[in-house]
Each structure stands twice: as C-alpha cells, then as structure tokens.
Amino acid sequence: MSENRASLGSKLALAVFTAIFLSPFFICILMAVKSKQETSKGILSLPERIHWENFTSAIEKARILLSMKNSILITVCSVIIIVLVAATAAYAIGRRYHNKFYRFYETLLVSSMMLPFQVIMVPVYRMYKELNLLNTRTGAVIMISGLAVAYSTVMMIGFVRGIPLELEEAAQIEGAGRFRIFFSIIFPLLKPILATVATLQFLGVWNEFNVSILLLQKEAIKTIPMQQYVFFGAYGADYNTAFAAAVITMIPVIVIFLILQKQVVAGMTAGAVKG
C-alpha cells in the first residue's frame, strides 16, 4: 500500500500551493491592523500594536453596516424565494416527468444555464428602467432569484423523482390536498438537497456582482461587493481601512462556509458523481 502515499515531491508542491493560497488572507489581516506609516515601510512590515481604529473607521467610512444590511436583506430574501420556487417547480416537473410540456420546460431551464449574462444585460436594464425597478432592493431580489432558479430546479428534479409515489398516495386516500402533501411530505424529505441548494445560493447571492453593478448604482442600496468595488477603486484609497473593511466582511461568510462545507461539496459535485 506504500504506493498510495503522497510522494515527497507532490507533498512539497502542495505545501507551496497552500502557502500561496493562504497568503492573501495573511496580508488582509496584516494590512487591517497596521497604521498608514507602518504600511509605507512595506507590505510585509509588522505593526507595533494592533490598530483597532482601522476597524472603527472602516465601519464609518466604508459604510459597512449599511451595505451589510443590504446584503443580508437581499441574500435572505433571494435564497428563500429561490428555494421555494425551485422546490415547487421541481415537484411538478419530477412528478409529471412523462409529460412533454414539463419536459420541455426542464430543457428550457437547462439551456438557460448556458446563457451568458451579457445577453440579457441590455434588455434587463431597459425593462427595469421602464418599470422603475432600477436601484431597488426588490428589483435586485427578483432578478437575482430569477437567474438562479434554473440551476436550483434542475438540481432538485432528480431528488423529487427518487421519492416513492406511495407516500403521497397514502396521504391522498386520507383526503390530503396537493399543497398539504407537498409541504408535509415532499418538502421535509427534500431537506438534504434544499440545504445544499440554499448553501450554494447563499454564497452565490452574497458575492453577486453582475446583476448588482447593473441594477444597484445608488449609494443607499449597494451590497458589500458593490461597496468594495467603489471603496477599493476610489482614487487614493485608504488601504488600511479598506482591508479592515474586507476582513470584517470576510469573517461571516468564511465562518458560514466552514460550517456548511459539507453542503457546498455535495452541491458542487452533484453532477460529477452522476456522470
């Protein structure tokens, strides 16, 4: 079995890659706790003390609390909508899989996943302008959810088809309606895939940029990535404050990512295992 151990060379290469992968996090934290003078001595210079004031000024200048509120609102609403809309659609498609209409809709969803966002960028902008939805959180939630629904639905259809029909028939005999069957039997059984989809979509929406830069251009409704785009991009940016802001916004998403890592892996590899 000795051959199945990693060789010294590949271990060494792995160590180098790991160091490179971790270095941006190290530099972010280092920059976030340094003063301007200490930074001017070089990117790797160490601070004499931890400059907590960077964090307080980040919260004020980078308007973290405001963009955090926008990001949380948009992410929570979008993920709930995505999960509900995708689960109900997947239920209908999965249960009527032999029906041409439902199958056609499934094909439509799958092909839309190949669509580059740029193709609908111009018409979406025009549509939102006419409907006065530009620069609204509602508008952003609708578009972000709408663009994520296809992928999430397609991921769930297989799961719905795996749930034995007998479970539903028993409830039907007892007189339960379709909605009660769905919410009391199907929805709970879909929990693993719902968790996976919700986790993947949480990360996707939290870091969403394409829709945000198109539709959210006013200061008051900017999400965290948009705020960072403006703040880091500003001429003569105060980098210590910017990095402090970056660290503050990174921590929650990394913590959630670590807690839900299993779900993320399950979601990303769903297609690969099936082949």
Binding site: P116, V119, I120, P123, P225, Y229
Partner: protein, 301 residues
C-alpha cells in the same frame, strides 16, 4: 351499461367526469409550476426575446425611443477592429485558465486523495477562496501585485500590457480552483479500489496507474470541469472589471467587458446587444462541441 338507443350516450357523462378529474389533477401540478414560470419568464425568457429585437436597433441605453436599423449592427460587427482584440484576449484567457485550472486541480485532488497528514486542512485552504467575491479577490491581489510582486519581480503583472493576463489568470485560479478540486476528488473517490488493487498485482507503477486507470475513469469529471471552466472563463467579467477594468490600454478587455463598455461608456446598447448575441452563439457551439467530444471518450464503469 350500453345505452345505444339514447341520443345522448350516458357513458359520455362518465368520460366527462373523468376528464374533469384528470384536468383537476393536472391543474394541481401546474399550480406548483406557476411561480417558476412567472419568475423565469420575467427574468430570462422575456429579456432574451426582447434582446433579439434590441439587437436590430440603435438604442443608446438612455433615451426612451430607438430606431430599427435592420442588420446594420451585425454587418458593422464584421468590420469592427475594436471587437477583434477582445475576442483574441478572451480566447487566450479562456484556454489558458481552463488548461491551468484543470491540471492544477487534478494534481491537487489526486494528492489530497492519497494518505496524507493534514489533508482536511489543505482541502479547506483550497476551498475557502470560493467564499470570496471576485471583486474582493481582485482588489486584494491587485494590492499584492503592486506592492509585493512588483518588488519581487521588478514589474507589476497587472500594470503591463504583456503580463496583465497572467495576473488576471492567477487571480481567477486562486478564486475558483476549489470547485474543480472538489469535483475531481469526488470522481477519484468514486473509482473502485478493485481496479487499483488489480493493477498493483499486475505490477503497474504509480504513473501507469494514473494514466491507465485514474484518467479514463475520470472522464465524466473531465467533461464537467473542462466545460464549466471554459464557459465560465470565456464570459469572465467581475474579476477583470475589478482588477484592471480592461486596461492597460485595453489589453485585458474581454468580450464581456467590451459589451459592458459599449452599453455604459459609449452608449451603444443596440450594438452591444448584437455583439452579445453573436457571443452567445459562439459559446453555445463551443459548449456543445466539448460535451460531445468528452461524452464520446467516456468509458462505462
């Protein structure tokens, strides 16, 4: 039950009842589809269709009206010198990212799938950047590039025309490598140990085992990873916009950035839409060809 003499056969009543029952049953399912139909129709289908119309107009992206200009936008496209460079940049970027991403991800995934101390730590290290937005990844690396890499190499990668793509490729690899590592690791875990053991008894060495067993058995993973990486990198937008905005001097302008610029900088939304439609057809052809090619190479497990 046959009521042949009657003008109105009673069995029609039964059929009618049956049809109503089936219709009701069908409707009970359709109701579940309605939210999805509305949302998908509003966000994808309608914009897509109205986009086809916009591509034949001179809309500037600002005014409420526009004129139809026929196929003008498409004929202009053929002789537009500004389009050629972004296509070249996009192709070079897409192919390089796809090649490097997959080679590295495969190497890291095979190494992490072996007996290795601290494998969980290494894995997490490669996965975490997936949680970081493209914008933040670009800004952090941009800062590292101009304050550390430029000192080490004597030149900033992102600041020079010749090296700017290398810089963006590094950012993209850091940000996205994890997802392919995940897929390859799942693929490797799915290969039965029996194959490996059989080949070891036959005296195959590590390299032979890798190329004769691991690689052919991983074909489904290759299909997914290569198709996903290529189509994603060919439409790269956020990373480039945040890292360079397409510069210096347009040297890192991808097709996605070009469309964005035509829409917001040059106020030629109709023309931007025409470019995006051609771009979409191009992406779909590549996606289909790739999938077809890899599917034909897959072996039955």
């Amino acid at each position: 039950m046959e009521q042949g003499t009657s003008v109105f056969p009673v069995r029609w009543l039964f059929y009618g009842k049956d049809i109503m029952k089936r219709l009701k049953r069908e409707l009970s399912y359709v109701v579940f589809l309605i939210p999805s139909l509305l949302l998908f129709g509003f966000c994808v289908v309608y914009p897509f269709l109205s986009g086809i119309q916009l591509a034949f107009t001179d809309w500037d992206g600002i005014s409420r009206t526009y004129n139809f200009v026929g196929a003008d936008n498409f004929t202009k496209l053929l002789s537009d010198k500004n389009v050629l460079q972004p296509i070249k940049t996009t192709a070079i970027y897409g192919l390089t990212v796809t090649a490097l991403n997959n080679v590295l991800a495969l190497f890291i995934a095979t190494t992490l799938s072996k007996k290795l101390k601290g494998a969980a730590f290494f894995k997490t290290t490669f996965f975490i950047p997936l949680a970081i937005s493209a914008v933040l990844a670009s800004f952090v690396w941009k800062y590292i590039d101009s304050n550390l890499i430029s000192i080490l190499l004597g030149n900033s990668l992102l600041g020079k025309r010749e090296t700017v793509l290398i810089g963006i490729i590094l950012i993209s690899l850091w940000n996205n490598l994890g997802s392919n590592i995940m897929i390859y690791m799942a693929g490797i875990a799915g290969i039965s140990r029996d194959y490996e053991e059989a080949s070891m008894i036959d005296g195959a060495n590590g390299r032979q085992r890798f190329f004769n067993i691991t690689v052919p058995m991983l074909m489904p993973s290759f299909t997914i990873c290569i198709t996903l990486t290529l189509t994603a990198s060919l439409r790269e937008f956020g990373t480039v916009l945040a890292a360079t905005g397409g510069g210096p001097a347009g040297s890192s302008q991808t097709v996605a950035i070009l469309i964005y610029d035509y829409m917001f900088k040059y106020s030629r939304a109709g023309y931007a839409q025409a470019i995006s439609l051609v771009f979409m057809v191009f992406l779909m052809v590549i996606g289909l060809l790739l999938t077809k090619f890899f599917r034909s190479k897959e072996v039955e497990a």
